[in-house]
C-alpha cells in the first residue's frame, strides 16, 4: 500500500467510480465517506484485496454493475467514489 507521508506531491489515487466497462481492479481500501454506505459495501463483499470487474454500465451512464465474488452488484458511481483501487487489467 502506498503511504506518501511527507511527500508534498499528491499521488493520484484511483477509485472504483473511474473504471470503464470491462476493466478489472483490486480494492485497496475504502476511505471515509458515509459510514452506512461503507458498511453496506463491506457487507456486500467489497473488502481489501478483492478483485472487481466492471460488468456493465447502465444505458444512461450510471449506475454500474460490478462483478465480484461470483455475483453481480449494482452501485451508483457516487457510492463507490471512496473505494480506492489499483487497476490490474
Amino acid at each position: 500500500m502506498q503511504k506518501t507521508k511527507g511527500i508534498t506531491q499528491t499521488v493520484s489515487v484511483n477509485t472504483l467510480n473511474n473504471l470503464k466497462q470491462g476493466q478489472k481492479a483490486r480494492v485497496l481500501q475504502i476511505n471515509g465517506g458515509d459510514l452506512a454506505t461503507k458498511q453496506r459495501l463491506l457487507d456486500m463483499g467489497i473488502t481489501r484485496g478483492i478483485i472487481i470487474t466492471i460488468n456493465k454500465v447502465a444505458p444512461l451512464g450510471d449506475p454500474i454493475c460490478l462483478e465480484l465474488r461470483g455475483y453481480r452488484l449494482l452501485v451508483r458511481k457516487d457510492d463507490v467514489k471512496n473505494v480506492e483501487i489499483e487497476v490490474i487489467a
Partner: protein, 660 residues
C-alpha cells in the same frame, strides 16, 4: 421447538418456506412495521418455523436487518435454518459468519445446487460441512429436491454449537473474547462485536464501555473496526472456498446472455417500452377490453332475464329496481373488469418473479435520482399499475426515509387497476377513434405528474440527505408458476370479494339514497332524491373542471374513496335509475350525464386518477407513514395536484376549442 429460516434476498427462501410448511401458514406483520411476518408448522412435526425477511447482513442497514437481529436476540430460537445460495456462495456465507456469533444451533440448506452445477461450480459438501461445523443439505427449492432430507435432519434434533469454527483471528479475536466475557447472554459474541463497532442502534442496552478496546484495535489495525471485522469474515470464507469449491474461470451463464440484449445500451429502453406496451395491450388495451365486453354482455343478459323472472314471480316494482338497478348494475359494472385484472396481475407477478424488476431499477435510476427518487421507486410504480396497496408496501425496499415517503406519496398517481374502468369507460366513449392513444396518454400524464410532483416535493417537504443505491443484480429465473398463479389468484379473489361485499353494500346504499327523498317516499324523480341533495352540497367544488354543477358527478367522485371502480358503479346506477342501465352509451346519453364533453371527460379521468386514492390505499399510506398527520398531508397534496391538473386540462382545452 422454534426454527428461524434466514437467508439472502433472492435465495429461494420463500419457496423453501412453502415447501417446509405446506399450506399450514400464518401471515401477519412484524410489530411496528408492515413487513410481512410468516410462520408455519414444519411438515410432519409440531415445530414452529418462522420465515424471516431476506437480508445480506446484520449491520443493520435496513429495517429488515433490524427485525432479524432483534428477533434473534429477543426470541428463544432453538434452530436456524440458513439458506445459502450455491451460485453466490461467498456472499451467502457472509451472513452465516454473523449467525455463528449468536451461538444458536444451525443447519445449512444449500439451495440452487442444480443451478450451480450447470454453471460449472463444484462444491465438496462433506468437507464444507466439516469446515463450517454445521450439517449441510443440498436442496433445490425449485425442483423440490432435498426437502425430505432437510425435514428428517431437523426432526432428529441433535444440534449443538460445539463445532462452530473460529472466524476471527489475532488481536481482534483476543479483544472480542475480553469484551464478551463481561456479557452473560447467549449472543455475547455478536453483542461484543457490535460494541466494538460502535453500533448505536442495538435493540438492547448494554452497560459496558468498550471504547478503550476499540481504540486499541484501531491503532493496531490502522483501520476502523467494521473494516477489520468484514475483512476477517471474508478471509475465513475465502479459505473455506479454496478448499471446497471449484469453478470455471468465466462461466457464461444464461443470465449474461439475456442481459447482453436486455441491458444493452441501445436496446434496454426500447425493450422496456415494448414490455410495458405489451402489458398494457393485453390488460388495459384491446385484448382486455374485448374480454371485458363479453362479461358486460353477460351481465346485460342476466339483467334482462332476471328482471323478467322477478316480474313473473310478482315482485314489487321497488324490489325489482333494487335488484336490477342497484345490485346487478353496481356489482356487474365492477366485475366486468375481472378479466383485465387477471391478465394484469399475471403479467406483474411474472415480471416480479423473473428478475426483470431489478433491471428496470438499474437503468432508470439516473432519471429518478434527478427528482429525488431512486430506481427502486420504479418497482412500487409498476406494481401500482395493479394495485396501490401492495405497491405502497413495496416501498419498504427503499432505505432512505425521505425517499420512501416521497415514493409513497407518488405511488397512487399510477393508474391502478381500479382506475382502469374509469379510463375504459370515458376514453372508450368520448375518444372512440383514438381510444388507445388517449388512454395511453393518461399513463404518460401520470409519469409526467409524478416527476414534476417529486421535483417540487423534494424541494418543499421531503428534503433529505443522500442515500446509496447498492443492490444485488439477481440472476434470471424461470418464474415459479406456482407463485405466479397463487399471487394472481389471491389478488383477483380479493378484488371479487370486495365487489361482493363493499361494492354490494354501497350499491344498495346508493340505490336507497337515489330512490327516496328526505320524507322516505319511494319512486321520486332522481333529481329530488336524497343523494342529489348531498351532491349539490359539493358540486361547486368540481365546477372548475366539469364546467357544470353536477350533483351526480360529485357523488360519483366522492364514492371513489370507497374504491375507484365505485365511480363507475355510481355512474351506472344513477344513469340506470334515470333511464336505461347498461353501457357507456346509455350512461352518457342519459340527461343527467349528457353534459360531458371530451374536455370535461378527460379532466374527469385525470381528477379521478390523481386525487385521494381509495380507503384501502389511504390505509396503507397511514401504516407506512406511521402517522395520521403525514398521511393526511399526503392525501391533501394528491387531491390538490389532481384539482390543478384537471382544471388546467379543462380550461385549457375549452379555451383552445373556443379559439378554433
Amino acid at each position: 421447538m422454534r426454527i428461524a429460516l434466514i437467508g439472502n434476498q433472492n435465495s429461494g427462501k420463500t419457496s423453501l418456506f412453502n415447501l417446509l410448511t405446506g399450506t399450514n401458514q400464518k401471515v401477519g406483520n412484524w410489530p411496528g412495521v408492515t413487513i410481512e411476518r410468516k410462520s408455519g408448522i414444519l411438515r410432519t412435526t409440531t415445530f414452529e418455523i418462522i420465515d424471516l425477511p431476506g437480508i445480506y447482513s446484520l449491520s443493520p442497514f435496513s429495517p429488515e436487518e433490524e427485525i432479524v437481529r432483534r428477533f434473534l436476540i429477543e426470541e428463544k430460537i432453538d434452530l436456524i435454518v440458513n439458506i445459502v445460495d450455491s451460485t453466490a456462495i461467498e456472499r451467502s456465507l457472509y451472513l452465516t459468519t454473523q449467525l455463528y456469533d449468536f451461538n444458536i444451533p444451525m443447519v445449512i440448506a444449500l439451495n440452487m445446487a442444480d443451478l450451480a452445477f450447470e454453471q460449472g461450480i463444484r462444491i465438496n459438501h462433506d468437507l464444507l460441512s466439516k469446515l463450517l461445523g454445521v450439517p449441510i443439505i443440498p436442496i433445490s427449492a425449485l425442483k423440490r429436491t432435498g426437502i425430505k432430507e432437510l425435514i428428517q435432519l431437523i426432526k432428529k434434533g441433535e444440534f449443538n454449537t460445539a463445532n462452530y469454527p473460529v472466524i476471527y483471528q489475532g488481536e481482534l479475536l483476543n479483544i472480542i473474547k475480553k469484551v464478551e466475557d463481561n456479557i452473560l447472554m447467549r449472543e455475547r459474541r455478536f453483542l461484543a462485536i457490535k460494541l466494538l463497532e460502535n453500533d448505536i442502534s442495538l435493540p438492547i442496552r448494554i452497560e459496558l464501555d468498550a471504547s478503550k478496546e476499540r481504540d486499541l484495535l484501531m491503532q493496531n489495525y490502522e483501520s476502523d473496526i467494521p473494516q477489520v471485522v468484514a475483512d476477517q469474515r471474508y478471509e475465513f470464507i475465502e479459505k473455506v472456498r479454496d478448499k471446497t469449491v471449484s469453478s470455471r474461470e468465466n462461466p457464461r451463464t444464461l443470465t449474461d446472455k439475456i442481459d447482453r440484449i436486455i441491458l444493452n445500451k441501445y436496446l434496454a429502453i426500447p425493450i422496456f417500452i415494448l414490455i410495458m406496451f405489451t402489458v398494457y395491450f393485453l390488460s388495459a388495451g384491446p385484448v382486455g377490453q374485448a374480454l371485458a365486453g363479453l362479461i358486460e354482455d353477460l351481465f346485460a343478459w342476466i339483467s334482462v332475464h332476471f328482471a323478467t323472472f322477478l316480474e313473473n314471480v310478482g315482485a314489487s316494482p321497488w324490489a325489482v329496481s333494487l335488484m336490477i338497478d342497484g345490485i346487478v348494475t353496481g356489482v356487474g359494472a365492477v366485475l366486468s373488469f375481472v378479466p383485465q385484472l387477471i391478465i394484469l396481475f399475471l403479467l406483474i407477478a411474472f415480471l416480479e418473479a423473473s428478475g426483470y424488476m431489478s433491471r428496470i431499477a438499474f437503468f432508470f435510476d439516473r432519471v429518478f435520482r434527478k427528482v429525488g427518487l431512486s430506481g427502486k421507486a420504479l418497482i412500487p410504480f409498476i406494481i401500482g399499475s395493479g394495485c396501490s396497496v401492495p405497491a405502497i408496501m413495496a416501498t419498504r425496499t427503499i432505505n432512505d426515509e425521505n425517499e420512501r415517503r416521497l415514493t409513497i406519496l407518488l405511488t397512487p398517481f399510477i393508474p391502478c387497476s381500479a382506475k382502469l374502468p374509469i379510463i375504459t369507460l370515458f376514453a372508450g366513449y368520448f375518444f372512440k377513434d383514438n381510444y388507445g392513444l388517449v388512454s395511453a396518454s393518461l399513463y404518460f400524464l401520470a409519469v409526467f405528474v409524478i416527476l414534476m410532483t417529486a421535483l417540487v416535493m423534494k424541494k418543499l417537504l421531503y428534503k433529505g440527505g443522500y442515500s446509496p443505491f447498492i443492490q444485488e443484480l439477481p440472476t434470471y429465473k424461470a418464474p415459479n408458476l406456482n407463485y405466479v398463479f397463487k399471487t394472481t389468484w389471491e389478488k383477483t379473489s380479493a378484488f371479487i370479494t370486495r365487489a361482493g361485499s363493499i361494492i354490494f353494500l354501497a350499491s344498495i346504499f346508493i340505490w336507497i339514497l337515489l330512490s327516496f327523498n328526505w320524507t322516505f317516499t319511494y319512486g321520486v324523480p332522481i333529481e329530488e332524491s336524497i343523494l342529489s341533495d348531498i351532491g349539490r352540497l359539493f358540486s361547486w367544488v368540481f365546477y372548475p373542471f366539469l364546467g357544470v354543477n353536477s350533483w351526480a358527478a360529485a357523488v360519483s367522485i366522492i364514492q371513489g374513496l370507497i374504491a375507484k371502480e365505485q365511480v363507475i358503479t355510481s355512474l351506472s346506477i344513477i344513469a340506470g335509475l334515470s333511464g336505461e342501465a347498461g353501457n357507456a352509451t346509455t350512461i352518457f346519453t342519459s340527461p343527467i350525464f349528457s353534459f360531458f364533453t371530451p374536455a370535461s371527460a378527460y379532466a374527469f379521468m385525470a381528477f379521478n386518477l390523481f386525487s385521494a386514492p381509495c380507503f384501502g390505499a389511504i390505509g396503507a399510506m397511514h401504516k407506512e407513514f406511521g402517522s395520521s398527520r403525514k398521511m393526511l398531508k399526503a392525501v391533501l397534496i394528491q387531491t390538490a395536484v389532481a384539482f390543478l391538473i384537471a382544471t388546467i386540462i379543462y380550461q385549457g382545452a375549452t379555451l383552445i376549442g373556443g379559439l378554433l
